[in-house]
Symmetry: C2
Subunit: 501 residues, 2 copies
């Protein structure tokens, strides 16, 4: 199909240019806001052309996206040292290397905060150029997005220059899958009118208009989707433990019988947990989350998914094929929203999501590190975990009890970085068990976490720390031996294991 068939208003055809030409509007130091959330729905042709320009002209831009994006954007620009500031999330190896070594300045933000902070002018000026991947452009000049919504709608609204990449590899059948709503800013903001996970409140396109589009660029590069790790025994165990926990909570009257909308973080463990629901007795499941992954296709395929709302569709390559083959069926129950709506604290709390996210490490008192390896090195970012964890009906963090073949205990005396505080967690699940810390004091929490979730290799060490900390600090809500609190991390750095030699 020719790009001109996807640009439905003929007057717009005059704006179709090459990626190279479109990239010339970008000036050094500009804030570039793009579509894309996970390696889905991000622009590819213009960033590649921009990277080529930067290679010759040596300048930098600031890159604002929905979340992580694919290699043609983050990777290509980082490789030519083209990024000054990056926000709000990343997973690309090139970027990660650069931000940790001090090249790229990375501002790690709650994903629901990014769009409004950009509109408020809090991120260093407003969006100068929006580059948005589209399936098509309507007769009125509105943009039909592709496999993600992210911050695209807000960036288009704010930007002076709008470049639309019409990607012919994206099926037109995506049209109708989006629900675009941009809140007004204070003091004019109104309630977001979602009361059920699948309520539609907006338009199926990004409002733009003929005049606002500066350039249209053809592209046929496919989303660089990635394989998920196979579901292993640990992930299966965590999923089973969690589903069993929910059943007991329903029985105890603490959870509605039909459950509540599921939210699950990005990645293999979260995907495995969702997949586990396909084999459970639960039916008519609702999903209100950030990223729609393969596990939700599994739920749909066994007829257990009532609806799934997210801001991105981020399947494995096999999942993408599966989706494309039945897109008309999936589209009826799946919806992509702007991330400030998908991750909205207001909605998460109102509809009462069950939040399932992954921790890098947690401590005996229930604080969670989601971002920093050994307290210093950025892994990916906080993503949407904070938006959901703080506001969910029930907040669960998952982690295997150890990492690096047992050299790292995921449960430590004190986490080396805090992304979610003790105030924001309800339960923890490792492959060994569930720790329910709701309504507990720190000393009570510590015992439940160690007893139910820690690995046997580390359990005595953790209990020993707790008991000595209690003795050392006679007057403490949260006992710690400060000279030792981070010693597990330093031992790992020095010896390669948290175990005592």
């Amino acid at each position: 199909m020719d790009i001109k068939d996807r640009v439905r208003n003929k007057a717009l055809h005059a704006k179709i240019v090459s990626a190279e030409e479109a990239a010339t509007v970008i000036k050094p130091g500009m804030n570039i806001g793009t579509s894309g959330f996970t390696p889905s729905g991000y622009p590819k042709a213009v960033p590649l052309a921009l990277a080529e320009r930067i290679k010759k002209e040596h300048f930098q831009i600031n890159l604002w996206t929905g979340a992580s994006v694919g290699k043609e954007l983050d990777g290509a620009l980082a490789a030519v040292n083209g990024i000054n500031k990056r926000l709000p999330y990343q997973t690309n190896n090139e970027i990660r290397k650069s931000l940790n070594s001090g090249g790229v300045k990375y501002c790690d933000l709650h994903l629901s905060h990014t769009a409004q902070m950009s509109r408020y002018g809090f991120l260093g000026g407003k969006v100068d150029v929006a580059i948005i991947e589209a399936c098509a452009i309507t007769e009125e000049g509105h943009i039909i997005p592709t496999t993600s919504m992210g911050n695209s709608a807000s960036f288009v609204q704010s930007a002076d220059i709008v470049i639309v990449e019409v990607n012919t590899s994206q099926p037109l059948a995506l049209e109708g899958m989006h629900d675009v709503y941009i809140p007004l800013d204070p003091p004019h903001r109104l309630p977001i009118p979602i009361v059920k996970a699948d309520d539609r409140i907006g338009t199926p396109y990004i409002p733009c208009g003929l005049d606002k589009i500066t350039y249209i660029v053809p592209c046929d590069i496919r989303d660089d989707v990635r394989d998920l790790a196979a579901i292993d025994d640990d992930a299966r165990a965590m999923s089973a433990l969690f589903i069993d926990f929910l059943k007991k909570d329903i029985k105890a009257g603490r959870m509605p019988k039909g459950l509540l909308p599921l939210q699950s973080g990005v990645g293999s463990v979260a995907n495995a947990v969702v997949s586990g629901f396909a084999e459970s007795e639960f039916t008519d499941l609702e999903v209100y989350t950030e990223v729609i992954q393969d596990g939700m296709l599994d739920l749909a395929d066994v007829g257990k998914l009532k609806s799934a709302s997210g801001t991105s569709f981020s399947p494995s390559p096999a999942g993408l094929e599966r989706f494309y083959q039945n897109i008309d069926t999936y589209r009826k129950i799946m919806m992509l929203r702007p991330q400030e709506i998908a991750n909205s604290p207001e909605i998460a709390r109102r509809i009462g999501v069950i939040a399932m996210n992954t921790a890098i490490e947690l401590d005996i008192y229930g604080n969670v590190n989601s971002t920093h390896i050994m307290g210093t090195k950025m892994m990916n970012g906080i993503g949407g975990s904070g938006d959901f964890a703080r506001n969910a009906y029930l907040t669960c963090f998952f982690s295997t009890s150890t990492a690096k073949n047992g050299a790292i205990s995921s449960i430590v005396p004190m986490v080396s970085h805090v992304d979610h505080t003790e105030h924001d967690v309800d339960i923890f699940v490792t492959e060994l068990g569930v720790a329910d810390v709701r309504g507990l004091s720190p000393k009570e929490r510590a015992r439940v976490i160690i007893e139910n979730c820690a690995h046997p290799d580390y359990k005595p060490m953790l209990m020993d720390y707790l008991e000595r900390a209690e003795k050392a600090t006679k007057c403490a809500q949260t006992p710690h031996i400060l000279t030792e609190a981070l010693s597990w991390h330093t031992r790992f750095i020095e010896t390669g294991t948290m175990k005592k030699q």
Copy 2:
């Protein structure tokens, strides 16, 4: 005035009993939910009678309140070792001693979370007995609260047994000041229909009904309100710096010209900052906050306060007199709401509050400790600071640059406990300056915070740490020397000062 005039339905007069008799319905291990938020509007007679009973019978109950309460409740029950679990906030000396030494189990919660967690059954069963202070009881058996709303309405809704303390020291003119709205729980919850800070959405009483009231107890003990510290030079400097910052942000287009609703934490510094607005050029100020303090009376008295919404009225003794003398005027612009509405993340984000809270310490990367002295000893609790900080339009934390006559630097390499993460802060204010960290990476943040906010005695030490950490960790988003990160705290514990000897 006789209590019978305040119990407007004569059929209820038969339920009037002594505090001692009412206290007999309380059984060991029960969850007791009371009114009260700060030393305002808490029950007094029944708790004192309960403490007497416990002194003889030796048992414990769990105490759930709005926030901190007065000595007749927290103090009296802690003194007889009558409290097993305490939540969600406290400031009483007896309780603080006991929870730190391991007597009382203290569960420190976000104040907007408490009511719904109690309804969800997450806090160890539901409320067994609600004890609520009232001005009066209506003809229909509904309860007119006094100087705070807190969690009273939700506790009344959930409890099997409701004891109403009708306090004749509380003026009847408080009637009409309350706006009571209890959200439904998921999956039935609807948008909270507040779009302006002063919108009224509920009833002026706590819905209860004649049958639900178990006992009515007369009381004439006044709220144990406390003096605020006098506004000192540091507080005055912080207030001036902050107001100046706001003016510049308005000029830069980052803040609406008429400002946005102010939220201010409890205590002397917050009160001083609010007071500072009375001398500013700003007019028609709106307040959407937790606690209405003297500073807001100052604003009202100079005609600059359009409206103030809170969950508690917590003045100094002089402020209380001032309030009583002009109660009919103040009542027109002041409103008390349940704390899950006053502190609602949904509303804070929608109307876009300017959140002003106090930190115990912050670190060079912008993490904030609001609760734990030297990482272990509980001060008060997180209170509502998290509800507002995460969801505000602009989030500011205040702290003097040093404490304990300079022996403690309020800015440290790594905070010893995290209540607000680097993702939740916009600006910091000490008496020395303002650090605007919006949109900055951790390394950028560190330099701005040290340069603008740190005390000269500690500035070189902080820069030295930062630079050495950067050298030591070549691959770090957030450079730290883990063996040294908490050494300032251990040095203080060992030597009495964070300064190097």
